[in-house]
């Protein structure tokens, strides 16, 4: 059974504990930032920032909303980056957890190709060409601890566990959310081990909240993969 996240954005308060906990556990340095007229910072994910809470002010049905979206790698069930790389020494899937892991050998990959293969625009490159992104805190998970971002989340926005448990929780939380947000939905739940629950249209939260179709065509290899993929778990799509 692979592991999954459920990220219930309707509960997120953007305290950004997850953003710091991620850096803390991974010993990642801070970036030099400026205030760009928003609380959101840094401006983007980077080689040193695996997790970033997106913050958007949106007027929906005449009412102001402040939408929060803790953006991170989705740990795709069939990961385009992994398929594109075709190099398990650089990008591999941990069988037990389903985590998609980038190693130092990503340096030998064509970074642009890998980044473009990602439907969610997640991987980022170091000056030397090495790629990095969320590693599911796999060292913690292997030792029975939740990922740092999940452990630190105060409100239950971040959840982690066996995939079937997370799917069940997603169904339950979606039903709760629908009472306040009739258009609430789960994003790409069948394809991902990181399932987002959103109250409104995904695109309002973050540019790449939902898979962008355009990027699926980037590599021939991937296109092939998409075609031969079986229709998985229709039931979960109905949640």
């Amino acid at each position: 059974m692979s592991k999954s996240f459920l990220i219930d954005t309707t509960l997120c308060t953007a305290c950004r504990g997850c953003q710091v906990a991620c850096k803390q556990w991974h010993d990642l340095p801070a970036e030099k930032t400026i205030n760009r007229g928003t609380y959101e910072n840094p401006a983007d994910l980077s080689f040193d920032t695996y997790k970033l809470v997106r913050m958007r002010e949106e007027v929906i049905n005449g009412k102001l909303n402040w939408l929060f979206f803790p953006e991170q790698c989705r740990h795709c069930i069939e990961a385009p980056c992994l398929e594109t790389a075709g190099d398990p020494g650089a990008i591999y899937k941990d069988d037990k957890t389903g985590a998609i892991i980038f190693t130092a050998n990503t340096k030998r990959l064509n970074a642009a190709e890998i980044i473009e293969s990602c439907p969610y625009n997640i991987p980022r490159k170091a000056p030397d060409g090495t790629l990095a992104k969320c590693d599911m805190c796999i060292d913690r998970v292997e030792n029975g601890l939740p990922p740092a971002c999940v452990q630190t989340c105060p409100t239950g926005a971040m959840n982690f566990g066996d995939r079937d448990e997370m799917l069940a929780l997603a169904g339950k939380q979606l039903a709760v959310a629908k009472k306040k947000f009739p258009k609430a939905m789960l994003i790409d739940a069948d394809d991902l081990n990181v399932i987002y629950l959103v109250g409104y249209e995904p695109k309002l939260y973050c540019k790449n909240a939902m898979a962008s179709n355009a990027v699926f065509d980037i590599t021939r290899q991937m296109a092939l993969k998409r075609m031969i993929r079986p229709l998985t778990n229709i039931a979960s799509r109905l949640l």
Binding site: T13, P29, N35, Y39, T155, G156, K180
Partner: protein, 809 residues
């Protein structure tokens, strides 16, 4: 907090007003959202749409400084529609008390106003007393002079139209808030308030909170699970430091600092020990002398004897009727009367109102001792912006304290939980724990005074045996705070509870409120049991320790009816479970939380009154909660007054524009500007999730600076358009006292207000920055803008509502 963090989950309606809990107390939202999931409503009222608003079921805005108008409208609504909890109000509050004829209110002034001194003669607000010296009451609430009817009359002016024109809140929104919150007046329902500096930092701060406390009483929300008046305190141990009374007016355990007129210990005790003639009033403060004498025994140990008044004369006295608070202290320093300053774990160059005045005042010091984790704007004030070191005489000693994880001791959270912390790593470099620094300095002082000096007795006689193997030992102090038996069979043993303390010198207790925290059973604050109490409402009675005597919800005997049975059968706090015989209680037993005193309930199951019972509000002289509060400096009822600096020429509610007793200061650094076209916008200050207080412990941290790198000013799109600002542009914010450069955040989350037909803009600046960090030196403190004025009761500065301008850089 009368209640505590976990208890928020038991609420049916949570009002967040005067705080931004989601941002500044993020973990509270674990419990806020738990309540919401169970169907509770979350209401948020704030000048600006915040992280808290983003999660609210209902959000509306008000102009900074108009909370009393907003809440006064709610009181009128509750009374007009009779939505208050009648049984609770009649029996547990002073609503039936008859107020003396001298009490009057007209033109925005209460009777007894002395214009010359800007003071009230509070004797004009006294209750009528019967022949026994007990307040006269009319339980039928018909007497026109009873508190409830005076309250009705007082707030009759607060109609939604008028309130709306003052607050800028749409009338429909006011009604929605009133209606939703009023629903908690139903039996078994609980509403709670989460407030913070958004209410305290005003010239009407205390009355903001009183207005809400009165609403809580009217709705029967005090003492119950999911209710209470909950101040979200801002620092990890600001509750504890307040309990230990690092404040001019109080001694540990909220005892009074002696006035010069309290010429002896017996005069002091007599003055501050309240007397009640009602046999049903517990009047807990009648125990005052036991606590004051036990405290003196802790101060001076064996040197404190009956013969020398337990060392009472050694303690400093303050002059009657004189203020010694923060604003006054820096005013004196500015005038040059202060020579030495200890700024210990504080950064006043950024934290107090009117920073330019504060920083300038420091130039007049001969010396300063500054203890901190980091170099800071206070210790290094002499090289700050606009300073010329070669003209500044002040000697500065800057001492490195260690971080909390590098030492051992206890802190007390906002919910009054005392929790023990342990040492992880040793102090880094040559830093030391504050405890070690204090102990060493104390020893140096004792040494130097052995050779003589002015009045050396208190220094030499101060009990100072809190070291083990030459190091500060927090356990020894914690035990002293709890207190010891000094005589008798238990001599040398720790006292079990403050009920055992004595006024004859046979016990010590450095803080009676903490008596029971460290007993012969061990360190109660270090407990870790995750087992809940039988009522299963999240009290966790054996996790840490809570003052007083581990009572987790204050005033909890008001959570039951006269027969001792809970209003709320599901989320009950305490219940009387004594045996019943022939309709009468015959044995005493309370279950659930530690009750506010273990007396019998006021009535037997058969409805007969008991003579051995006590009213539930045991800390009040008469045993009743005070809807009418004759002890406040600015009136027994709250009244809307505009902030000292405001955008309106006149107060629409009454003829006084500002609080008639608000303090003002008169140095050349104390400019105030009202309705001045140079400063047309309302300004306020606040915190963000990623920084803390003056920012010294967060601006120095790269991870947090990454999230919030620069000071900013938030403003509406309308105001930005008016001024031609682009989002993200650096702009100048200025007030009559100072200015700073900020990054403009142009946001939909601020909206202009319609105030009496005019458009009023408001802006906000977080106060976490200062020139020392980040090292660019370009980010400054928002307190450069704020005025030296404050609440007349507490003198907490008015940093939440003042006037500013915002201009191109």
């Amino acid at each position: 907090m009368t209640n505590h963090w976990i208890d928020l989950k038991n609420s049916d309606c949570i009002l967040i007003m005067g705080s931004n809990a989601a941002s500044n107390h993020p973990i509270s939202f674990k419990y806020v959202q738990m309540a919401q999931e169970k169907g509770a409503k979350l209401i948020n009222v704030d000048p600006r749409f915040t992280r808290t608003s983003s999660k609210a079921d209902f959000y509306t805005a008000l102009r900074s400084g108009t909370d009393i108008a907003f809440l006064g409208g709610m009181i009128k609504y509750l009374l007009d529609k009779k939505l208050y909890n009648k049984e609770y109000v009649e029996n547990y509050t002073n609503a039936p008390f008859i107020v003396g004829k001298a009490f009057k209110f007209s033109d925005g002034l209460f009777s007894g106003y002395e214009a010359k001194n800007r003071k009230y003669d509070k004797s004009k607000w006294a209750f009528d007393m019967d022949s026994k010296g007990v307040p006269k009451m009319d339980r039928s609430l018909k007497n026109s002079r009873c508190v409830l009817n005076l309250l009705k009359k007082h707030f009759s002016r607060y109609n939604t139209k008028l309130v709306s024109s003052i607050t800028g809140t749409p009338e429909a929104d006011l009604v929605e808030v009133y209606k939703t919150y009023a629903a908690t007046g139903a039996r078994g329902k609980a509403g709670t308030i989460m407030y913070a500096m958004g209410w305290t930092q005003h010239t009407v701060g205390v009355q903001n909170i009183r207005t809400m406390a009165m609403i809580q009483l009217l709705l029967g929300n005090m003492g119950v699970a999911g209710g209470g008046v909950n101040a979200l305190r801002g620092e990890s141990n600001v509750q504890g430091s307040t309990d230990q009374c690092l404040l001019w007016h109080i001694w540990p355990g909220y005892l009074k600092t002696p006035r010069a007129s309290n010429v002896s210990l017996s005069a002091y005790n007599k003055k501050w020990t309240p007397k009640s003639n009602d046999p049903l009033s517990a009047n807990w403060w009648q125990n005052y002398p036991k606590y004051s004498v036990s405290l003196l025994k802790s101060f001076f140990g064996e040197k404190a004897t009956k013969a020398n008044d337990f060392g009472y004369d050694w303690m400093p006295k303050v002059d009657d009727g004189t203020d010694y608070s923060w604003l006054t202290l820096f005013d004196e320093m500015y005038k040059g009367t202060v020579k030495g300053l200890f700024a210990w774990g504080m950064n006043p160059a950024c934290s107090g109102a009117n920073s330019n005045k504060t920083r300038k005042a420091m130039e007049n010091l001969d010396w300063m001792v500054n203890v901190n984790l980091f170099d800071n704007e206070t210790g290094s004030f002499w090289k700050g912006p606009g300073m010329n070191p070669s003209t500044i005489k002040t000697e500065v000693f800057m001492l490195p304290a260690c971080v909390s994880v590098e030492k051992e001791g206890s802190i007390t959270n906002s919910g009054r939980w005392m929790q023990w912390r342990y040492m992880g790593p040793k102090p880094l470099g040559n830093s030391l724990s504050d405890g070690d620094i204090i102990m060493e300095l104390g020893l140096k002082l004792k040494e130097i005074y052995k050779e003589g000096g002015a009045f050396p007795e208190p220094i030499l006689n101060l009990k100072w045996d809190y070291m083990t193997d030459g190091l500060y030992d927090p356990h020894k102090v914690a035990k002293e705070i709890n207190g010891y038996y000094l005589e008798g069979p238990k001599k040398g043993k720790l006292v079990e509870s403050f009920s055992k303390l004595k006024a004859d010198g046979s016990t010590s207790s450095a803080n009676w409120l903490y008596c029971n925290s460290y007993t012969e059973k061990g360190n109660m604050s270090a407990r870790r049991s995750k087992v809940d109490a039988p009522n299963n409402i999240g009290l966790y009675p054996e996790f840490a320790w809570c003052w007083p005597v581990n009572r987790r919800i204050l005033y909890n005997r008001a959570s039951v009816d006269l027969k001792g049975q809970p209003w709320d059968k599901k989320d009950w706090v305490v219940r009387f479970a004594g045996n019943v015989k022939n309709g009468k209680y015959v044995s005493k037993k309370w279950i659930g939380d530690v009750p506010d005193g273990g007396w019998y309930p006021l009535e037997n199951p058969d409805g007969t009154k008991r003579k051995d019972a006590k009213h539930p509000f045991i800390m009040r002289k008469h045993g009743y909660a005070q809807i009418f509060g004759p002890g406040r400096a600015d009136g027994p009822f709250p009244e809307h007054y505009e902030p000292l600096e405001c955008p309106v020429e006149k107060n629409l509610m009454n003829k006084q524009r500002i609080n008639p007793v608000a303090p003002v200061y008169g140095t050349d650094a104390d400019a105030y500007a009202t309705c001045d076209p140079k400063f047309p916008f309302v300004g306020t200050t606040y915190r963000v999730s990623e920084h803390w207080q003056t920012g010294l412990m967060t601006r120095t941290q790269p991870w947090l600076l990454e999230l919030q790198p620069q000071v900013f000013v938030e403003m509406s799109e309308e105001l930005a358009k008016l001024r031609g600002f682009k989002n993200g542009e650096r702009v100048m914010v200025s007030s009559a006292r100072g200015s700073l450069e900020c990054t403009a955040i142009v946001t939909k989350r601020f909206k202009p207000f319609k105030i009496a037909g005019n458009t009023v803009h408001q802006v906000g600046v977080p106060w976490h920055y200062g020139w020392r960090w980040p090292e660019t030196g370009a980010e400054e403190s928002a307190n450069l803008l704020t005025p030296s004025t404050g609440d007349p009761n507490t003198r907490i500065p008015e940093t939440k509502a003042f006037m500013v301008n915002v201009t191109k850089k």
